[in-house]
Symmetry: C2
Subunit: 415 residues, 2 copies
């Protein structure tokens, strides 16, 4: 499959771009090679697509079912009882539905932590997006549960991968307050054995940090470090409550952090210290968390809140500037998961979005990156290309209506 983008705007210049064998093969004006598909991009600009580094995709089935509650009330009374009702079919369909929303909003990759892995892996393969999937390990310090979790993780790693080019099998640890040392160590060992990534909720709430000090005499970061869980293949979600020693450890080990501003605000978890962490040399990515606590999977909304929140948090309007935040949402997410992508350059994997320069949100066009971070919404995203394949063109995704109907039907069983 080859795609020729004619007269596309890249960094304020018109050019042609040839995509071949999943890569950006050639970027130069006036390419006259034949291609399987030629797109007229007269009014379109090309940008890196978004890499959503923390989600729980099937939870879109719970969007809006419960809001504005305390975390434990929300989890115990509204979310967990309903998660117990989820079938494989629902997980498959809800994952596809979430991927639909991600594509509509310009995302080509998500890193996920959930359960029902055979349904999830098939959904990702069927939608053609990139993913780092993991079975969220959670044993509540119970040895019976632990054996069950280990079995599920093993099953996941033995399961056939329907598209290894796009899907990475990764490991995850729910959190230090919900997972035993033994299960943490098991995941750390599995990640090393499979040379893959380890995804952990860490320092999301003040309570988590206080409880860790009470129970273990150290912070969650120090605790995870002691168990060998921190490396440049670790992605920590949330990471709101960090002390200076934690930050030094994270910077030194090259750990990736994933901030989820909407979710942290909605559940009143706290505010990420974006600028301080950037200044200390920490590596940052962006994620939406699940649609039950966001309530969308829209990386543009996350970019805006990430940039705005950084200013109030740092008491400095120059903090969290648009360029840094755009890089966090694109290039950094790709880097965190070892993808040769996230930039529009020859030799990079052909992941990109084409945005409509005639859209009002992108007008005037003094600074396209500022417009994407502070102004854009899904109406700006015309086309999404992932690994050299067109996932959406002219705002249209094949099968969209059926998927929405199916979710509406499943949702009736959740009330």
């Amino acid at each position: 499959m080859s795609i020729l983008l004619k007269n596309v705007t890249l960094n304020n210049q018109k050019t042609d771009i040839l995509i071949k064998n999943n890569y950006f093969e050639k970027i130069t004006p006036d390419i006259n090679q034949p291609a399987d598909k030629v797109l007229d991009c007269q009014n379109l600009a090309i940008l890196p697509a978004f890499y959503n580094c923390h989600s729980h995709a099937p939870m879109s089935i719970f969007r809006g079912i419960s809001d504005d509650k305390n975390l434990f009330d929300w989890l115990n009374n509204d979310i967990w009882p309903r998660e117990a009702k989820l079938t494989e079919d629902m997980i498959y369909t809800a994952t596809k539905f979430s991927i639909l929303e991600m594509i509509k909003t310009g995302t080509v990759f998500f890193s996920d932590m959930y359960f029902g892995m055979s349904a999830m892996i098939q959904a990702v393969a069927d939608m053609g997006i990139r993913s780092a999937l993991s079975c969220g390990a959670l044993d509540l310090f119970d040895s019976q549960k632990r054996q069950n979790e280990i079995k599920q993780i093993r099953d996941f790693f033995e399961m056939p991968n329907p598209n290894p080019d796009l899907i990475q099998k990764t490991l995850s640890i729910h959190a230090v307050y919900s997972v035993s040392k033994e299960l943490i160590r098991y995941n750390v060992d599995m990640a090393k054995e499979h040379q893959t990534y380890l995804h952990i909720h860490a320092c999301e709430t003040k309570k988590e940090v206080d409880d860790c000090w009470r129970d273990n005499g150290c912070s969650p970061i120090q605790y995870l470090d002691m168990l060998g869980a921190l490396s440049d293949k670790t992605i920590l979600a949330h990471s709101v409550w960090l002390d200076d020693k934690d930050i030094d450890i994270l910077a030194e080990k090259g750990v990736w952090l994933c901030t989820n501003p909407s979710s942290n605000y909605k559940l009143n978890s706290g505010v990420f210290m974006l600028q301080k962490l950037l200044d200390k040399g920490c590596k940052i990515t962006l994620g939406t968390d699940g649609a039950a606590s966001n309530n969308s999977l829209n990386m543009m909304t996350e970019m805006k809140l990430c940039a705005l929140s950084a200013k109030i948090q740092a008491d400095n309007p120059t903090a969290g500037n648009a360029q840094d935040v755009f890089k966090i949402a694109t290039q950094n997410g790709a880097k965190a998961f070892g993808l040769n992508a996230g930039e529009i350059a020859e030799g990079k994997l052909a992941d990109c979005i084409l945005v409509d320069l005639k859209n009002h949100f992108l007008t005037p066009n003094y600074n396209l990156i500022s417009n994407m971070v502070y102004s854009a919404d899904s109406s700006c995203i015309d086309t999404v290309i992932c690994n050299g394949q067109i996932l959406m063109q002219n705002h249209f995704i094949d099968g969209e209506e059926d998927l929405i109907d199916q979710i509406q039907q499943f949702s009736r069983k959740m009330i």
Copy 2:
């Protein structure tokens, strides 16, 4: 003009709605009266439209020209020198362009403070939206400037109003740090004389409050109260830095506050105390501020940030709930400006949006209000009706492309 909405969803029930003579005339299933236009609303829900209570519409021409800066650097070096270059033509076109974005995002009314009033009033009339326009009084304590401002305000009030059904002429005071007592009193008197509204930037930054105490021995709220500027026809924009005495005065006088969360975050002005003010009985509306400091005019983005920010500010995830915030963005805005609108009910002015229930952001549909506040974007808004006239149908607004081209051309003169 009459419009019949067939099979529209209102509060989770299907109904028909007849709009006649600018009002919702009849709301009941199976209306069989003739109408000038009949809309099949099978997959659409009707909701109140948004009332944007603080904006500077022409500033959309500066969107993205300067971001992530300190307020005074931004104003002195990037905004004010460019405002001096604005022609009547530019103000006319930029106002229309802003109204285009407002309609696209479901807004039918905006309260504005700017200059170039003859261009602005014509732009509003030509786009068919509601507006409360005011010429932002600002004399920097200079008597020469004061005379000029008074002349401009008089001229504005003498100017013909091309559509008095939609457009209200109102008064505004830039701020206590930029307007003399004399000019404040002049505006207060004019507002009383014309029985209209008074729109003021108040307590936006901590510096404004500190300086007012230093210069006047009281807070900006007390200072405005002393000058007779506070009543239930006063709308205070921002109102971030309030003390308990201020809050008591505002509640007692029935003053309307207008929160502008994106702008307050972006310029690091501070965080509005939404829940505390609601609990104290203050009356709240929502606005976008200008697109130079937001950078969009999207009330859905503002609702989400308003609700999220309230939780962190109050350290309580139940603060700023979706229902309250939706009411603030709709019904309250209409009430603040004396409009018999903001609700879908017989006898109310026919302002509404029709949202697409087949849009992924509104799926599942457990709670449409939650979906509108926490998930929706402009792709959800199918149709906008203002005063019984269709301003947008099936996402389409007449003249959209030309307007965008014109702004792009004008923007080249701003670099």
